[in-house]
């Protein structure tokens, strides 16, 4: 369970992005929807422990994300919208770093590279990779270790068709295994069959829609949330 309690965040004193957000994310896929600039990615960054909230607390499996950093992040995986990898690291080093911190084996690195189709890029530094290759590197890193909490920000962006199907199967597998998944995406159609609930950041706070309607009404409801309209 991921829990946000009275969370507030601002990039500068005058611009409040989120205010007093209280959310509980149980196992299953939670889709974050809304128009550009409403705070979807900020919510993902806060949940992934990449940005620190100005107010409130975030706990993962009972561990506070900022006072119990290591325990809270042990089974956490984050795929950012922009793969902000450090430029002078090789792909191999990034995956070894992740593997070392998640206490996974060397085999996990090789498997992740094979899965993401970047076997030949191991010794290449990040600055020599294309954007798509960087995304694949981040996705390979997500596969290392035993992820129980997934925060995925536009995971299908910049991914070709064959890998897209692979990626959707991987997400569906984690959902079936009882993982908590917070997913930000504009691509409603890809997730309409997997989504368990939706969250819509609006006016600085988050509105949860659960349960979602079934059948064709579900897609309509998600489309309205994506436009920032209440359901």
């Amino acid at each position: 369970m991921i829990r946000l309690d009275g969370v507030g965040f601002s990039y500068s004193p005058k611009v409040r992005v989120l205010e007093d957000v209280t959310l509980e994310l149980p196992p299953g896929l939670t889709l974050v929807l809304g128009p550009n600039g409403c705070g979807k990615s900020t919510l993902a960054k806060l949940t992934a422990g990449v940005e620190m909230p100005s107010e409130g607390t975030i706990t993962i499996s009972g561990h506070d994300l900022w006072s119990d950093e290591v325990a809270a992040r042990r089974d956490l995986v984050y795929v950012p919208e922009h793969p902000d990898l450090t430029p002078y690291a090789t792909v191999n080093e990034i995956l070894t770093l992740v593997s070392g911190l998640r206490s996974a084996g060397r085999d996990a690195v090789d498997e992740a590279m094979a899965w993401a189709g970047i076997e030949g890029l191991g010794n290449r530094t990040v600055r020599k990779l294309s954007n798509g290759q960087r995304r694949r590197s981040v996705l390979a890193a997500a596969r290392i270790g035993s992820a129980k909490y997934l925060v995925l920000d536009e995971p299908l962006d910049g991914v070709d068709r064959s890998f897209r199907a692979e990626l959707l199967a991987w997400i569906a597998g984690h959902r079936a295994a009882g993982a908590v998944i917070l997913l930000v995406s504009h691509d409603i159609d890809a997730f309409v069959g997997l989504v368990d609930r939706a969250v819509n950041p609006r006016g600085g706070t988050c509105h949860t829609v659960s349960p979602l309607p079934e059948g064709a009404a579900r897609r309509d409801a998600l489309a309205r949330l994506a436009r920032g309209e209440p359901v």
């Binding site: 992040r73 430029p87 070392g100 206490s103």
Partner: protein, 423 residues
């Protein structure tokens, strides 16, 4: 006890095997020089130098570590195999193997003791604590060369060996504490990488081997940082070396030892501040604080600590030359270097605009600290006391740095083909 006896027996067998070449070498030297006393006096001059000498202690520790490292292949052989199914903890296995390695060093330790006894008449004040510290030296060397234990514990063991053999009662006492700390940090024993594949999967899972650890991650982090810095690091070392070598001109003048020490401290600390500030700027630009890495299971404190470790490498040439010119300046220089390294790691994480660049913050803080320590070396103790607080401030800056600020620093332009401003 049975386990201890088992490993001690292995140590004795290795010691017996090593006795023959060591004794042959000593006998050959005695025959060649026709004076046994001269041989031991020469060794005594190396290991039992007059006064408190960290250099002599480090030399003795390294020699013992090399010997223990050589003997470990026999003493620890099979330590990760069948024997691990017996009802004994990993710590018991580790301690027993360490004791075995101490015993294996006996021929070398006897030579060291004999060289100490040859010099005891001339400077007993420092020889006595060293003679007593020989056992601790052996234990520390054994611990430091025992593969498969935590790196932090092994590094502490090297420090313990150096302190035990430095020739001071105080440092000998500190060595006992360091040995205890090294033992506490050693953790469970893992097979070295070369032997992991020989284990079956169930044994690997039970031992937790085959898993990469935090030390692997730390090594990767340091490698990435050093690659980003490249020759910058070496060029900065040259600046420091040149600044300090210029001191030799002054040391030829008729200065009192106090004035000489002050000059070494002033120039050394000044060089440290300049180097660290310059390196902090390079690190912030080339290997910036990396937002995604914050989602991984490691603490902000450990990331700041690792960056501080990288920055503190700049101190190596300054400390080496300082030790050569005036050994007593090493402690204040080391303490200031550590403090500056932690503050540098924090400065990399301060919001852009507060100081303009990490170097600006380091110049201000560094020159105040350096001035204080240069004039009153005891102030270095205050910096050591402030270290945990500095680390906490650094961790707090790391947690609080907003991602938007990362881009503002122009970090993405650092040789990145995806950046629009890359040239």
């Amino acid at each position: 006890m049975v386990l201890l006896r088992f490993h001690l027996a292995a140590g004795v067998r290795v010691a017996l095997r090593a006795t023959v070449p060591v004794a042959s070498l000593v006998i050959a030297l005695v025959v060649f020089t026709k004076s046994g006393v001269a041989i031991f006096s020469a060794l005594g001059a190396l290991f039992f130098a007059p006064g408190v000498s960290p250099v002599a202690a480090m030399a003795a520790t390294l020699v013992c570590m090399a010997f223990a490292g050589w003997s470990s292949r026999w003493v620890t052989s099979g330590l990760w195999g069948w024997i691990r199914h017996l009802p004994a903890s990993g710590a018991s296995h580790r301690r027993a193997a360490t004791a075995g390695l101490v015993v294996a060093q006996t021929p070398l330790l006897v030579v060291v003791l004999a060289s100490g006894l040859a010099t005891i008449g001339s400077h007993s004040a420092t020889t006595l604590p060293r003679l007593i510290g020989v056992c601790l030296l052996g234990w520390s060397a054994a611990h430091a060369s025992l593969r498969g234990t935590a790196l932090s514990g092994r590094l502490l063991a090297v420090l313990a060996g150096t302190a035990a053999f430095a020739g001071s009662w105080w440092l000998l006492g500190a060595a006992f504490l360091l040995v205890a700390a090294a033992d506490a940090l050693a953790g469970r024993i893992h097979p070295p990488r070369s032997q992991m594949t020989a284990l079956g999967e169930p044994a690997r899972q039970e031992l937790g081997v085959g898993e990469l650890s935090f030390s692997t991650a730390a090594r990767v982090w340091i490698t990435i940082s050093l690659r980003a810095l490249r020759w910058r690091l070496v060029s900065i070392w040259w600046v420091a070396a040149l600044a300090l070598v210029s001191l030799l001109l002054f040391l030829n003048n008729d200065l009192s030892p106090r004035q000489e020490a002050l000059a070494v401290r002033l120039v050394g600390l000044g060089a440290l501040v300049v180097m660290m500030a310059s390196l902090a700027d390079s690190l912030a630009r080339k290997r910036p604080v990396w937002p995604w890495s914050r989602s991984l299971p490691w603490s902000a404190r450990s990331r700041v600590g690792l960056d501080a470790m990288i920055l503190s490498t700049t101190a190596i040439p300054v400390l080496s030359i300082g030790m050569f010119l005036f050994p007593s300046t090493v402690l204040p220089l080391s303490a200031t270097a550590l403090f500056l390294a932690v503050r540098g790691a924090a400065a990399i994480r301060e919001p852009f605009g507060t100081w303009g660049a990490p170097s600006a913050q380091l110049f201000v803080e560094g020159f105040i600290a350096a001035g204080l320590v240069a004039l009153a070396p005891a102030a270095a103790l205050g910096l050591v006391v402030l270290l945990p607080l500095a680390l906490r401030w650094g961790a707090s800056a790391e947690r609080g740095l907003k991602i938007g600020r990362w881009n503002e620093r122009g970090s993405l332009t650092a040789g990145d083909s995806q950046s629009w401003s890359d040239s």
